[in-house]
């Protein structure tokens, strides 16, 4: 049995390496900038959703306020860069650390809340964050920050002539988020989180310090999401509160995981690979004047998934196997 388990984990790792290798080759065939753009966003949302999944999927603390950490990553990076000339790489790490600290600071009061109350708190806090940034003059308020373009440079992480560096960074971030999840899945933290999600009282009786587990999950999750935010800011070269902290980001982090399979290793990647290209395509073909068509598509998908496959699309792959094992 242990061998099966180890083999499954090794297989996951090999599949991931294979997929990452294939993805790395994609730019050889995809020259179209529009399609490259979609690939970059897909990888980014896969990474974000994977990070969101750590707190909300594994640990069961559903957050619809992760846009806050995304925005903090973006703003920390750009404020440090434009005001103090700090390179985005350091800003990125700084943003990650600040987001993690804020996540823990917010967790302190809010992890006492359960279920819907917790979700509502996360939405409200993210909205407050958005309002604060919209009114914070020094940070550009509602006008936002334009990132000064100083030519293509890895050091400053900005590129005008090509999107490929962004593509590879998004791919690396996606791999990182996946690998962190993979690694945590078979760790004390991973087990603690799942136990906390399923039954906090029983977890506590088995020596799990529930509060600390939630704090740990929140910190890791927020850190990775903030790195994604920093990346997005560099990618856009312009940020304002709505474009890096809007509620849609919270949704777009949650939906791929829900679609693919919440609390699973492959769910977020699978969900993002389907959802993000679909939204981008509907936006450009049907969208235009009709902003919101993509939201109708999300809504329909989520309803269908929760009715037909509440465990998400990954359950299509695992269902046959578990049946064989039990009966």
């Amino acid at each position: 049995m242990d061998k099966n388990f180890a083999a499954r984990r090794r297989r996951d790792l090999i599949i991931a390496a294979g997929l990452a290798g294939l993805a790395a080759l994609a730019p050889l065939f995809v020259k179209d900038v529009y399609v490259q753009n979609i690939l970059i966003l897909t990888l980014m949302y896969a990474a974000l959703s994977q990070s969101w999944n750590i707190l909300s999927g594994y640990c069961g603390q559903i957050s619809l306020g992760h846009a806050l950490y995304f925005g903090i990553g973006a703003y920390t990076t750009e404020l440090l860069f434009t005001k103090f000339g700090v390179l985005p790489w350091f800003g990125m790490l700084g943003g990650g650390v600040i987001a993690a600290l804020i996540a823990m600071g917010l967790g302190y009061p809010f992890f006492r809340l359960r279920g819907h109350y917790f979700v509502i708190a996360t939405i409200v806090i993210a909205e407050i964050g958005l309002l604060l940034f919209q009114n914070w003059e020094w940070a550009g308020a509602a006008m936002g920050i334009t990132i000064p373009i100083r030519g293509d440079s890895w050091l400053k992480f900005q590129f005008l002539r090509t999107k490929l560096p962004y593509f590879y960074f998004a791919l690396a971030l996606c791999c990182l988020a996946w690998f962190v999840t993979w690694w945590l899945e078979d760790s004390k933290w991973g087990f603690w989180w799942r136990a906390v999600k399923d039954n906090p009282e029983a977890a506590e009786s088995l020596g799990v310090v529930v509060f600390n587990s939630k704090m740990g999950a929140a910190a890791v999750s927020a850190f990775l999401v903030a790195i994604g935010g920093a990346f997005y800011a560099q990618f856009l070269a312009y940020i304002d509160p709505e474009s890096v902290m809007g509620f849609q980001f919270s949704l777009l982090m949650a939906l791929p995981a829900v679609l693919g399979g919440i609390g699973t290793l492959w769910g977020p990647v699978l969900g993002a690979a389907i959802l993000i290209p679909m939204t981008e395509l509907t936006r450009s073909y049907i969208g235009g004047s009709g902003r919101g068509v993509d939201l109708i598509v999300y809504g329909t998908l989520i309803v269908l998934i929760s009715l037909a496959l509440p465990q998400g699309l990954v359950s299509l792959f695992s269902r046959a196997k578990t049946k064989g094992a039990t009966r």
Binding site: D186, R194, E201, A202, E204, S205, L206, G207
Partner: protein, 243 residues
């Protein structure tokens, strides 16, 4: 040698309701002690106080020579108090082995060790064949057994069993009894709440009867069942006179 567990003058009030009043009990090392009493006697409350779900309103609890009155549940588990729940609380989305690994992680920080320990416990509790099944797919008797397995994986000195034998078929109950004996033989002290007298009484070394939140009688099972006060508490005055 001092007692493993000792409660001194423990009170628990919920608003106007007194669930435990002045409960002082002690459990010696290696004993199987039965905690019995009619519904609403305060057994579960006392259990929760010992396990650390909530602190008592008044009084103190000592475990293994240490005051644990205000220690949180997770820490008590680390000190060696394991428990099961009357209403089973399996980790439903996790497999049986994963459920038990959560418990095993208390004393094994290396995953490989925790997993090995968990398999060992499944073997011990007779759940080995179900290791890879989701907890939600277990039948009720197996879920009870999983509760015990999980608690055993924390390598407790004291195991608190909350009605693990209730609601089982006679055969299932007998295997349960055998398991409890096996646990004690492995050197673990057992304190169990139970309803079914004819099953508990032959099993326990000592019985403590609670009624209306107080310790009513304490002693050898054979004496306890004949005690008029106990019969009165369970069956009412008329029967007590007859005894």
């Amino acid at each position: 040698m001092s007692a493993l567990l000792e409660t001194r003058g423990v009170w628990q009030r919920f608003g106007g309701l007194i669930a435990n009043s002045d409960v002082s009990i002690s459990v010696g090392r290696g004993e199987i002690v039965g905690l019995i009493g009619p519904n609403g006697a305060g057994k579960s409350t006392l259990f929760n106080l010992i396990a650390g779900v909530l602190p008592p309103t008044q009084g103190s609890i000592r475990f293994d020579g240490e005051d644990v009155t205000h220690m949180p549940a997770a820490e008590r588990c680390q000190r060696g108090i394991g428990r099961t729940f009357q209403v089973v609380k399996s980790f439903e989305t996790m497999t049986v082995i994963d459920n038990v690994i959560v418990g095993a992680l208390v004393r094994n920080t290396v995953m490989r060790e925790a997993r090995r320990k968990a398999h060992e416990v499944l073997e011990f509790t007779g759940l080995a064949a179900r290791a890879d099944v989701l907890a939600s797919d277990l039948v009720p008797a197996e879920k009870r057994r999983l509760e015990v397995a999980r608690a055993l994986a924390t390598e407790p000195k004291l195991l608190l069993l909350d009605e693990v034998l209730t609601g089982l078929t006679p055969t299932e109950a007998q295997t349960g009894v055998a398991l409890v004996r096996k646990v004690r033989d492995a050197g673990i002290t057992v304190l169990m709440v139970e309803h079914v007298m004819e099953i508990v009484m032959p099993l326990v070394d000592r019985a403590i009867v609670l009624d209306l939140g107080k310790v009513l009688v304490e002693g050898k099972p054979a004496d306890v069942v004949r005690d008029p006060k106990v019969i009165k508490a369970y069956l009412g005055d008329r029967h007590a006179v007859g005894a």
